[in-house]
């Protein structure tokens, strides 16, 4: 697999680490056990296009949100995580 890092360009799979589904959002502090259980444990486990967290740890150390097809491994988009590029926030 090759991933086009938005900062580094196209790179080899070995430079990246996978975390998993990017859809679950960490619940607010007061959301309760059920909500956190859902966030930590339950997965849609999509057979098809899903959004995922990958880490370019062997490169620029950016967390990326990658849209990828789990049936074909085809990657359709790569975006930086929300906190990447914060230095350019608000200016």
């Amino acid at each position: 697999m090759r991933i086009v890092c938005p900062f580094c360009g196209e790179r080899e799979l070995g430079e990246f680490t996978y975390l998993g589904d990017a859809k679950p959002q960490r619940p607010a502090a007061d959301a309760g056990e059920d909500a956190v259980y859902d966030y930590v444990y339950l997965r849609d486990n999509v057979a098809g296009v899903m959004s995922e967290h990958w880490y370019h740890g062997g490169g620029c150390r950016s967390w990326l949100k990658i849209t990828r097809n789990t049936l074909t491994h085809e990657i359709s988009s790569v975006e930086p995580a929300a906190g990447v590029g914060a230095a350019k926030v608000g200016v």
Binding site: R2, L13, E33, V40, H53, W63, H73, A81, G83
Partner: protein, 993 residues
């Protein structure tokens, strides 16, 4: 010089007759020429019997001239370089080559195991599933060992491979598999367009079938066209032609695997060179011009030595000037097979007959036959007479029912051609059936890949050139190259007519998969028993699972299955194609990464100093750490470690702890950030102070621990355990970038920037006062416990000093920029000399942490909660943090959890071992009373006995209880007392003093 090469033609071929090469096969000496394969040299020397089959040990010869060879397998080379199952048809001849036949005993000619043929009526497909079941014990003791001994083909060397391998990356616009007419034309078009081109050819010569079949291209002989084309390609700066290189797989994102046999054509690789190189090729586009593979017709006796694929026979005659037979018959169902007759006649061989399954042989061929004086029989070969010395006579069933017999010592067979659809099918694509050639052709391909020429079902030379050229030009355009491709090379297309024929019914064994001895009747049996799916067929009969990967046999097998199950071939379908396209040495996939180079090695700043001291090193992850420092006269590790511990507890010692992960946490929100990742609070930590912190995973289990110091208002220095340095950095970046993007915080690993040493023992201050600038106040008031600040050292550099203790002693950790680490360790030795300073290793470190009851790796097992570790009170209730909510789940706060407790044998002389289980005293051990286990142990010099930590059910409530340590693995049973895990100075006075 051995041998006379009796079957070598006087002229012709692409061999270099000026370079004669001696070789041995089964101990007998022969000679061949540069440019021969082992197979062609054996052919030239008249060797017909080359191997034995897998199950029946039938005598076998050479069937093909390529990587689809099922029969002519040898053990190549000797000793540690012995390579089992090497195809003689692809092994290049070199001076001194040694090869031996395999799967036979005592010799190839007299193979005892050929008695298996007598049992052939029983040894049908899947027979072993139906028997060997009674008595049950006999399977393990008798049947299976016998089966295992009989199985397998060649023998592996059994000792370490002495050769080297490496792996490399290459990048291109257009990757081309194959250098036949389609491949070369594709390279021309893409190269001229300005594309970066890599062409992989598994043969050592470029040209593919042109090398055997010739032809006329652009009005010139094929050989001349090849050399002109190669010259033009050589002049293009970004075209790379890789011979001896097989493209074996296609992976995601346009990544391809290829194996280059760099030095397999030599007896052994030259110094500094590898045997083989694995290539990872990244290509924007790929043109598969891998050609087609001639397929057999299945008939009784089709495995007799002397029966050969028609195209292979042409190759031996035309390319290698070696004649597999003197009197050749041809059995074909298609026009292409006749080319073998033309080639054979051209080389002066006799043609015994042509058996053509088609009713309508062309007038041209008929006149060729009458000119050559051989009959053309309309019908099929139904049997071959012969044995280990080759074929003698061929029986023919003539259309209409009559029979004929033909005397011949060679039978060329052509059942048509199967495009090489493997590469295009590796992403689970299923090829489609094309009626006019009665073959599967690619139906789509992985992204960026296209097939051209024979691989795409176009068998005419003109079509191959045209398709290859068009595909190369298009691939270059797709890759963004806009140069002019010029015009395509031109050639005539020969006529191709074929009448499908897969199997000739008859008496005697008719082999589909020759290597695995799968016969047509095995396929019929599989169908009868319900194994109709092609995948069931493959698995039940082992069809196509041999070292030829079914290249020749698969389609014939499923065609026979289609016939017996009354389905069409496309309805029957193909099995899933799996890489690699040719078997690849495991060593190549490993490359450089073996032996000491398996993984990288990390060295601490004091490593070479420690080595000078004679330290024993231990692997901790990738690190080499000093485990202990033996001294002369010490009888074992325990004596050394005990000395080190005593030295620290009574004086002063130091230990390199640079392996801890170190992270700079910067920014205005650094404190707020740490509050969210640690269970305790860091935003209120004063500048100049350190604090122990504990992190959980989001599932509530303990993730890591360490000491984090506040060096400035907006700068924390965080440490992790050695094992978790990388994962914690990744986790923190996730928190920063994904979970808490609103925080202004920056993270940098500074693990390698700092050499860090622990200095511990009651005389620590005495040592430091030597080392540190006298202006620095190291008193308890000036530098209290958990203080952290920069200090000046004598001689000019600055260091960071942290008053933290893992040993429970008065201790500091000191860090200096890493290139001063070696100086620091030498200066520590010098400064500490008056106090008897002692370097200590990880063992002594571990002893002291157990004495002090600190948890470490064995307790931070990923299944323990903060409360299990006795650290539950650290969990802040005033803030959210990672893992807070899940840590509250019922089973994680249950009263009967196993928690950390101290453990010591009641008999002070008794040894304690990690992994022993804890059972209530007086009970018989069983799953119901298995209450925990010993996690960490040491011999405590301080307590003068073995002590340990353990995870024990309700352990904290049971301090003082005598329980039983049960260690059946090591045959040890003893009583232990559960105790306070802090064995040493529980009040903590020493570290604060």
């Amino acid at each position: 010089m051995a041998g006379v090469q009796a079957n070598r033609l006087a002229n012709g071929g692409l061999i270099d007759r000026s370079v004669s090469l001696n070789f041995r096969f089964d101990g007998k000496s022969f000679s061949g020429f540069q440019g021969d394969t082992l197979a062609s040299a054996l052919v030239a020397n008249g060797v017909k019997l080359v191997g034995r089959s897998f199950k029946y040990h039938r005598p076998r010869g050479i069937l093909t001239a390529g990587s689809e060879e099922p029969n002519a397998l040898v053990e190549l080379r000797n000793g540690a370089r012995r390579e089992p199952n090497t195809k003689a048809t692809t092994a290049e001849l070199y001076e001194g080559l040694e090869a031996a036949s395999q799967n036979r005993w005592p010799s190839l000619r007299h193979d005892f195991m050929s008695v298996n043929q007598l049992f052939a009526p029983i040894f049908v497909a899947g027979f072993y599933y139906k028997t060997f079941m009674w008595p049950a014990k006999f399977w393990e003791a008798i049947y299976e060992p016998a089966i295992r001994r009989a199985a397998g083909l060649g023998r592996a060397a059994g000792v370490a491979d002495p050769d080297h391998y490496d792996k490399a990356w290459a990048h291109c616009d257009v990757l081309i598999a194959g250098s036949g007419p389609a491949g070369l034309a594709a390279a021309l078009a893409a190269g001229r367009s300005g594309a970066r081109v890599i062409l992989c050819e598994e043969d050592f010569a470029l040209g593919g079938r042109l090398l055997s079949d010739g032809g006329t291209i652009d009005g010139m002989p094929a050989a001349e066209w090849i050399s002109r084309t190669l010259a033009e390609l050589a002049a293009l700066p970004d075209v790379r032609l890789m011979t001896r290189t097989t493209l074996f797989g296609v992976y995601d994102g346009g990544t391809y695997g290829a194996i280059e046999r760099v030095n397999d054509h030599l007896p052994s690789p030259p110094e500094h060179q590898v045997r083989q190189r694995l290539w990872r090729i990244v290509a924007k586009r790929c043109v598969v011009a891998a050609g087609a593979i001639e397929r057999p017709i299945v008939f009784a006796g089709n495995d007799t030595p002397g029966v050969m694929m028609a195209s292979a026979m042409r190759t031996y005659v035309a390319r290698y000037a070696a004649t597999p037979a003197k009197r050749v018959a041809l059995f074909t169902n298609n026009e292409d097979g006749w080319r073998t007759v033309e080639t054979a006649l051209g080389a002066g061989l006799q043609i015994a007959a042509v058996v053509d399954a088609r009713p309508d042989v062309s007038a041209a061929h008929r006149s060729l036959a009458s000119k050559g004086g051989f009959p053309v029989l309309n019908g099929s070969v139904s049997a071959v007479d012969g044995g280990k010395d080759g074929a003698r006579k061929i029986s023919v069933s003539l259309t209409g029912g009559a029979r004929a017999e033909v005397e011949a010592d060679g039978l060329a067979v052509s059942g048509g051609w199967n495009p090489a659809v493997a590469l295009t099918s590796y992403h689970r694509g299923r090829p489609k059936w094309q009626d006019d050639i009665a073959a599967f052709v690619p139906d789509g391909a992985p992204p960026g890949m296209v097939a051209a020429g024979a691989a795409n079902g176009a068998f005419g030379l003109g079509a191959c050139l045209g398709q290859g050229f068009a595909a190369g030009a298009q691939a270059a355009r797709d890759a963004g190259r806009s140069g002019k491709a010029g015009s395509a090379p031109v050639a005539e297309d020969g006529a191709f007519s074929l009448t499908p024929l897969w199997h000739v019914a008859g008496k005697g064994k008719a082999f589909v998969d020759q290597q695995h001895d799968v016969t047509a009747s095995d396929i019929e049996l599989a169908q009868r028993e319900g194994f109709e799916s092609v995948e069931h067929l493959k698995r039940y009969t082992t069809l196509g699972m041999a070292t030829d990967q079914g290249k020749g046999s698969n389609v014939a097998g499923l065609a026979i299955m289609a016939a017996v199950s009354g389905k069409s071939i496309p309805e029957t379908g193909t099995t899933i194609y799996r890489p690699p396209y040719v078997p690849v040495a495991i060593g190549a996939f490993a490359g450089h990464h073996r032996d000491k180079n398996f993984h990288a090695t990390r060295l601490t700043p004091s490593h070479h100093w420690a080595a000078e001291q004679g330290a024993i090193f231990v692997d901790t992850g990738l690190w080499k750490r000093a485990q202990w420092y033996p001294r002369a006269g010490e009888k074992d590790w325990l004596e050394s470690v005990t000395r080190e511990v005593k030295a620290v507890r009574s004086g002063v010692g130091f230990c390199d702890v640079s392996t801890l992960g170190k992270i700079d946490v910067h920014g205005p929100d650094a404190g707020a950030f740490l509050d969210r990742v640690y269970i305790n609070t860091f935003s209120n930590l004063a500048v100049g102070k350190a604090r122990y912190g504990l992190m959980l995973r989001e599932d509530g289990m303990v993730y890591d621990d360490g000491t984090t110091s506040r060096l400035a208002e907006d700068h924390y220095f965080l440490t992790t355990t050695t094992a978790k340095a990388g994962p914690v950095m990744q986790h923190l970046e996730f928190c920063r970038q994904v979970l808490f993007p609103e925080l202004d915080v920056q993270l940098t690993s500074v693990s390698d920037q700092w050499a860090q040493f622990s200095i511990a023992g009651p005389m620590t201050r005495d040592l430091l006062r030597e080392l540190v600038d006298p202006a620095e106040d190291l008193s308890n008031e000036g530098f209290p416990f958990m203080g952290a600040r920069e200090v000046a050292l004598r001689g000019g550099i600055k260091a960071r000093l942290f008053r933290i203790s893992f040993s429970g002693e008065m201790a500091f950790e000191i860090s200096v920029p890493a290139r001063h680490g070696d100086a620091l360790v030498r200066n520590l030795t010098q400064a500490g000399a008056p106090f008897g300073v002692t370097p200590y290793g990880t063992e002594a470190l571990g002893v002291m942490r157990i004495e002090k009851g600190h948890v470490a790796g064995p307790e931070l097992s990923g299944t323990t909660t903060a409360a299990d570790l006795g650290l539950g009170k650290m969990m802040s209730t005033k803030k959210d943090f990672i893992g807070r909510v899940m840590a509250g789940r019922e089973a994680l706060v249950a009263a009967d959890r196993q928690v950390v407790v101290g453990i010591k044998p009641t008999d002070k002389a008794s040894r304690l071992r990690s992994g022993a289980h804890i059972i209530p005293k007086g009970e018989t051990p069983g799953p119901g009373n298995d209450q925990g286990y010993v996690t960490s142990i040491c011999f405590s010099p301080t307590l003068d006995q073995w002590i340990g930590l353990g995870l024990v059910e309700r352990g904290r409530e049971r301090i003082g209880e005598i329980v039983h340590a049960h260690d059946p693995l090591r045959g040890e049973e003893y009583d232990v007392e559960l105790c306070n895990p802090v064995f040493y100075d529980p009040e903590g006075g020493r570290q604060r003093g």
